[in-house]
Amino acid sequence: MSAAGRLAEADGRHLLHQMLRVRRFEERCVELYSATKIRGFLHLYIGEEAVAAGTMEAIGPKDTVVSTYREHGHALLRGVSAASIMAEMYGRVEGCSRGRGGSMHLFDAGTRFYGGNAIVGGGLPLAIGLALADKLRGLNRLTACFFGDGAVAEGEFHETMNLAALWQLPVLFLCENNLYAMGTELARHESQTDLALKASSYQMTAWSVDGMDVLSVREAARRAASEVRDGGRPCFLDLRTYRFRAHSMYDPELYRSKAEVERWRSHDPIPALTAQLQDAGLIDDAGVQQIERSVADEIDQAIAFAEAGTPEPVADLERFVYADAGKDAAR
């Protein structure tokens, strides 16, 4: 297919819009963090937007998403509202986790978003369990599980890969390989740096993808998702990407050079897609401006919503430790 055809088929404008929603949302989060509106840990996804935008195109509303602590983009593109995410980061009752979770623990049953998990690798076993439940209930849907390259070193990763393949569970493993686990470079934490090869040793289909190119991510995710759905077995994508910002707001970034970051910034997926769309005549400057305005409106409204939110009364502190009898989370 021609470049323009590929872009049109994939609805490139929509992908641009999605990536910009994540980028601008997080840029505002940084400001709000400095203004101490948002507290705790804040892990930014800036630079990695093509991964969330591309993969979400392959994940349907009935499917399930399991995520990490770097999950604002996953949540937002999954369909959790910007307002409820922002309110969560403000610690307000109107937040998607009622202000109990914060940035690292976004949850939303309505969109089958099973959480930001801040234990590295902690979501992987959950994901195969959710998929096992679907399989046992005869539901044809998949579970998409995001995790970082760092998680690949954990025992939980290996135990999960084995079980997923052994039991042929419908899980789409999405490894966001940004080349670092905090300050530890891939080659300093993995004996085998080809993560797709590692996953395939568990007898599942796995391949590597240019995670800075949203069209490649989208195509790979769609192919992998149909493998999971039609084949009824797990599939693994090694999505090669890069985080432009520090690991969290506390990271002095002693472990990588400015030049390296700059090199990767020149592969920023957002200007790349914008240029492709412009070259193909699918968008002009006014079109980009229009997207930017709609994104800015969405974020302004989210902030206004969070600002107007309610702090939970201290008297309610011990709520939600146990579920009430008869309550069932399954959907």
Binding site: R39, G91, R92, G101, M104, A118, I119, T184, Y255, L317
Partner: protein, 332 residues
């Protein structure tokens, strides 16, 4: 004789200097853990040590808590003196099997043949709005385990001084650094002497009630004692320092003088260290008590993110002072 030279430093720097001196003093000592090297330590404790001591002795590990804690146990058995850093106590749960089933038992299971001279450092505690997977105080759980020793440096002197005796100890020693203390700043002797790792310390003498605390709650207890002093009540504050084995004697002597005790613990109340201490006082100083032992612990809820909820979940000077007043039979 001139006064010894003093240096101004933070708790973080005191820990770093302790590690440096240990590395210089004994070539069997090495530090390993996630991001201790190139990153400079998750909380900045080991910053600069990679440059000074090199990759063999400052070892960045992958995210593999069970494997590298276990490797620390093996290396200790093999003749080294490892210092293993686990970023936070929450992540040590991934290594609990190694800590419990190997570090704590091999000496005994082998009939005394294989001591484990290992030090494991980790951050603990709440107060920074990092929610329910990064904030807990699980010292009480680990203090349940025979075969382990547990230390909780709450002062600069202990941050600087506890590591050397912990390394000299032939047993696995766990050191808990409260996340809220890293920026604590003050003065120490440039060349401080050794501290003991057997005794609790009376950090503020008093006569009417004993406030027993450790780690991050010591400053809470001191603030409560100050508040009580304003109302004319002289509270004694004990910093436990050593969480296992507990220094019963210091506790019982104090309570026998003050006749009242409040235990302050950032762990959850049920099955807590505070419960253990309370039981020991009840068992061994019951007839010295003028009031039931009071406990101020964290609320029994996974730590919430929202600031007002987190603060409400944690022991505060006001709640400690109120518990002391209850013990004293003072209203309000």
């Amino acid at each position: 004789m001139s006064a010894p030279a003093r240096v101004r430093l933070t708790y973080r720097e005191a820990l770093r200097e302790a590690i440096r001196q240990a590395l210089i003093a004994d070539e069997r000592v090495f530090l390993m853990g996630e991001d201790v090297g190139a990153y400079g330590g998750c909380f900045g404790v080991s910053k600069g040590l990679l440059e000074e001591f090199g990759e063999q002795r400052i070892r960045d590990t992958p995210l593999s808590e069970s494997a590298f804690v276990g490797a620390g146990i093996g290396a200790a058995m093999g003749g080294m003196r490892p210092i293993v850093e686990v970023m936070t106590v929450n992540f040590c749960l991934l290594a609990l099997d190694q800590i419990m089933n190997n570090a704590a038992t091999i000496m005994h299971m082998s009939g005394g043949q294989f001591p484990i001279p290992l030090v494991i450092r980790m951050t603990t505690g709440a107060g920074r709005q990092v929610a329910a997977q990064h904030s807990h105080s699980l010292e009480g759980w680990l203090a349940h385990i025979p075969g382990l020793k547990l230390l909780a440096p709450a002062s600069l002197a202990d941050a600087r001084g506890m590591l050397a005796p912990a390394l000299a100890d032939p047993n696995p020693v766990l050191i808990f650094e409260h996340g809220g203390l890293y920026n604590l700043e003050g003065e120490l002797d440039a060349d401080p002497g050794a501290v003991d790792i057997e005794h609790a310390a009376i950090v503020r003498p008093g006569v009417e009630v004993t406030l027993i605390a450790y780690g991050g709650t010591v400053r809470v207890a001191i603030a409560a004692a100050e508040e009580l002093a304003g109302a004319g009540v002289q509270a004694e504050v004990i910093d436990l320092r050593v969480l296992r084995p507990l220094d019963d004697r210091t506790l019982l002597e104090s309570v026998s003088r003050t006749h009242r005790a409040v235990v302050v613990d950032e762990g959850w109340r049920s099955g807590s260290l505070a419960a253990e201490i309370s039981a020991r006082i009840m068992e061994r100083a019951f007839f010295e008590l003028d009031a039931p032992v009071q406990r101020v612990c964290s609320a029994e809820v996974p730590m919430p993110y929202a600031r007002q909820l987190e603060q409400a979940a944690l022991p505060q000077p006001e709640t400690v002072a109120a518990a002391a007043r209850r013990a004293l039979g003072i209203d309000g």
